[in-house]
């Protein structure tokens, strides 16, 4: 009997370790032959811990959420199943390319990885010239999944074309945005995919060294990634001779130290070099002068983890999915006050309404949805009137928003948008690196100005607009530059929440 119990952080946070232990104990006591596999999460977080029992025909039946008390029934077959895990509607309607193996395989078993299509992308890339590898990524239409949406192929080409003795591949795993957990999930559930993507990037641009800058708030991901790098080295996937290609690529996991701004690529580079994580002015681009002043690819986890499937299935296959210039799939992370929260990988273009009302099933509280924040703490708050917007880069931009790292946080009608706007400024003040004035001082003044609005000061809203304009135009990076998004969208779309106290004062 093979039983899958996720090791994913969300599953652990909901009791998966205790369930795994109870299964082990009960099996031992009952003399049953049970093999427990600690897999990644399938992404249906409302069902975690989601336990799967594999039957002889290969079908994996799902049970969840499972508690320790459910374990005896689970083992004697009397527990009620949710059916085959892949037929659960939330899962069945997804297009899983990047996350195809996540939750399916044992994350640290390289043979299992290979049996599910792993390494075939890297093998194909090894047979190609570096220029052809870069071209394949360009043709796939892959854009930076960290939020900026910059074409990955163009970034790689710049590094490829810049001669240097040493180049680097750096994976930005500083996933600090609230409402996002795709990076964490894939690092915990399918770490070899990220390693393979980084190795392909190394072959493409001529980089022999890579780093994953992983935030310290993700202890499980750190543990899994470290183990995976060791396993990959032992299997010859990393090292002086990658899969017998005669070419070298090796990598290391580096742990961040709790600074949100280090998700900004230049501040990440400073942090990795052992400096304060302050933002660097661009140019020079990291692709030309990056880590230690050398040409460096800095890509988000999901961008790099998507590279293997592009090489496995071909650029055209990947580019066939999506909408307009947003090609391929995106792992939408449905979070906050929702009935069915989790990771939903789908082709770009699904309207927000469908994601919220249908896929997520509305709010967990059962109250009406008032606003959703898409793209993390720097993303706009969107009211119901914008819910027809298709989930894609340009389409969200047109609504004065951004998809960012594709996190969607849902709020019910009990939310006070003035408080959320104030929090956005407060967060910016706490996390500002301090290099540029509009962000460092502006965020503090922003909190004060919103407090004045709350006290009924009629001049304050205009002042807030001016301040936000200065932050947008004058900040060095996205932290100060985009904090006005949540603030101004809240003010624009939910004026009642900002007028309430004024009315009370009058």
């Amino acid at each position: 009997m093979k039983i899958y119990v996720p090791l994913d952080s969300a599953a652990k946070a909901l009791g998966a370790d205790a369930v795994a232990e109870a299964i082990r104990d009960a099996a031992q006591a009952g003399g049953k032959d049970v093999q427990i596999v600690r897999n990644g999460s399938r992404g249906m977080i409302w069902l975690e811990p989601l336990v799967e029992i594999e039957h002889d025909d290969g079908v994996r039946l799902a049970y969840g959420p499972v508690s320790v008390a459910d374990v005896p029934a689970l083992l004697d077959g009397s527990a009620e199943t949710l059916g085959p895990v892949e037929e659960i509607p939330f899962f069945a309607r997804q297009t899983r390319l990047t996350f195809a193996r996540c939750g399916v395989i044992d994350p640290l078993d390289i043979a299992d990885y290979e049996a599910h299509g792993g390494l075939s992308g890297l093998r194909r890339a090894i047979a190609m010239t570096p220029a052809d590898i870069v071209q394949e990524v360009t043709d796939s239409g892959l854009r930076g999944r960290g939020g900026a949406g910059f074409p990955t192929g163009i970034k790689w080409k710049t590094v490829h074309d810049t001669p240097a003795g040493q180049k680097y591949i750096i994976c930005n795993a500083d996933e600090g945005d609230s409402g996002t957990f795709a990076d964490r999930m894939i690092m915990e559930g399918d770490p070899f995919t990220l390693i393979e993507g980084m190795a392909i990037a190394g072959l493409a641009v001529g980089a022999t060294r890579g780093y994953v800058y992983l935030r310290s708030e993700y202890p499980v991901a750190i543990e899994v990634m470290n183990a995976a790098v060791e396993a990959a080295r032992a299997a010859g996937m990393l090292g002086d001779d990658v899969l017998g290609s005669g070419r070298a690529f090796d990598m290391e996991i580096r742990v961040g130290a709790g600074a949100y701004v280090c998700g900004e690529e230049t501040s990440l580079l400073n942090s990795l070099e052992g400096k304060r994580g302050v933002v660097r002015a661009k140019p020079p681009l990291p692709a030309i002068e990056g880590f230690l002043g050398r040409p460096t690819v800095v890509n988000n986890v999901i961008s790099l983890a998507t590279v293997p499937v592009i090489f496995e299935r071909g650029a055209a296959h990947y580019a066939d999915f999506g909408l307009g210039r947003s090609k391929g799939t995106t792992p939408v992370q449905i979070a906050g006050n929702v009935k069915y929260g989790g990771l939903f990988e789908t082709a770009f273009g699904m309207p927000l309404r469908e994601l919220i009302d249908d896929v997520a099933g509305g709010t967990a509280s059962g109250r009406p949805v008032k606003a959703v924040q898409v793209g993390g703490p720097l993303g706009a708050y969107m009211p119901r009137s914008t819910f027809d917007t298709p989930f894609a880069y340009e389409e969200f931009d047109g609504q004065g928003g951004l998809i960012g790292h594709a996190g969607v946080v849902v709020f019910d009608d009990s939310v006070d948008m003035l408080k959320m706007a104030r929090f956005a400024m407060e967060f910016c003040a706490v996390e500002s690196c301090g290099k540029c004035t509009p962000c460092r001082i502006g965020a503090v003044r922003g909190v004060e100005t919103i407090d004045r609005i709350a006290e009924g000061d009629a001049d304050a809203p205009e002042l807030l607009g001016d301040l936000c304009e200065t932050m947008t135009d004058g900040s060095l990076c996205a932290l100060g530059g985009l904090t006005p998004y949540p603030v101004m969208s809240a003010l624009r779309h939910f004026p009642d929440d900002f007028a309430r106290s004024r009315e009370a004062a009058e």
């Binding site: 946070a13 499980v220 709790g258 992370q333 979070a335 929260g341």
Partner: protein, 158 residues
């Protein structure tokens, strides 16, 4: 300076510094190792690190003080981190955090007078679909409600 601060000797700190010197950008790994061993970055480590890396003490101090993770004094016996980010707020995280602070009688980053609990804000644990979330001595907890919070704080000795 607090009297109960562990005061590791240079001999105890030096190996933790040296082990990272071959790395590119060794400072953060060094600081993580020191904090793991001693629960904080001892003041005496600053000049040892500066010497080893050939940078100024001011530069080392600048890095230590920049990052939220590094402490100049050890935390309480238990560290409770509560997520303050938006997804957890949408599930009532702010009220939960306020209740915890009030009960312990401390502000964010504060340690209870008996040294039992340090309470810290964290901005996202990646548990955004099962909030409100917390981390207790490195262990993750999802869907924290008033009852669960009560258990957490009791077990930590509040």
């Amino acid at each position: 300076m607090r009297q109960d601060l562990p005061q590791p000797t240079a001999g105890e700190m030096q190996p933790l510094i040296e082990r990272h010197l071959q790395k590119e950008g060794p400072l953060l790994p060094i600081l993580h190792s020191l904090q793991e061993a001693f629960g904080h970055i001892p003041q005496a480590a600053v000049s040892l690190i500066a010497d080893a890396l050939n940078i100024t003490r001011a530069e080392v101090h600048g890095v230590v003080s920049f990052y939220h993770d590094f402490r100049d004094v050890p935390a309480g016996r238990h560290v409770v981190k509560i997520c303050r980010a938006e997804a957890c707020q949408s599930m009532g995280g702010a009220a939960l955090a306020d209740a915890a602070l009030e009960r312990l009688g401390v502000a964010w980053h504060g340690t209870t007078a008996d040294g039992a609990i340090t309470i810290e804000p964290v901005y996202c644990l990646g548990l955004c679909a099962c909030g409100p979330a917390a981390m207790v001595d490195g262990e993750l907890v999802g869907r924290v409600d008033a009852e669960r919070l009560d258990t957490i704080l009791k077990e930590a000795g509040a």
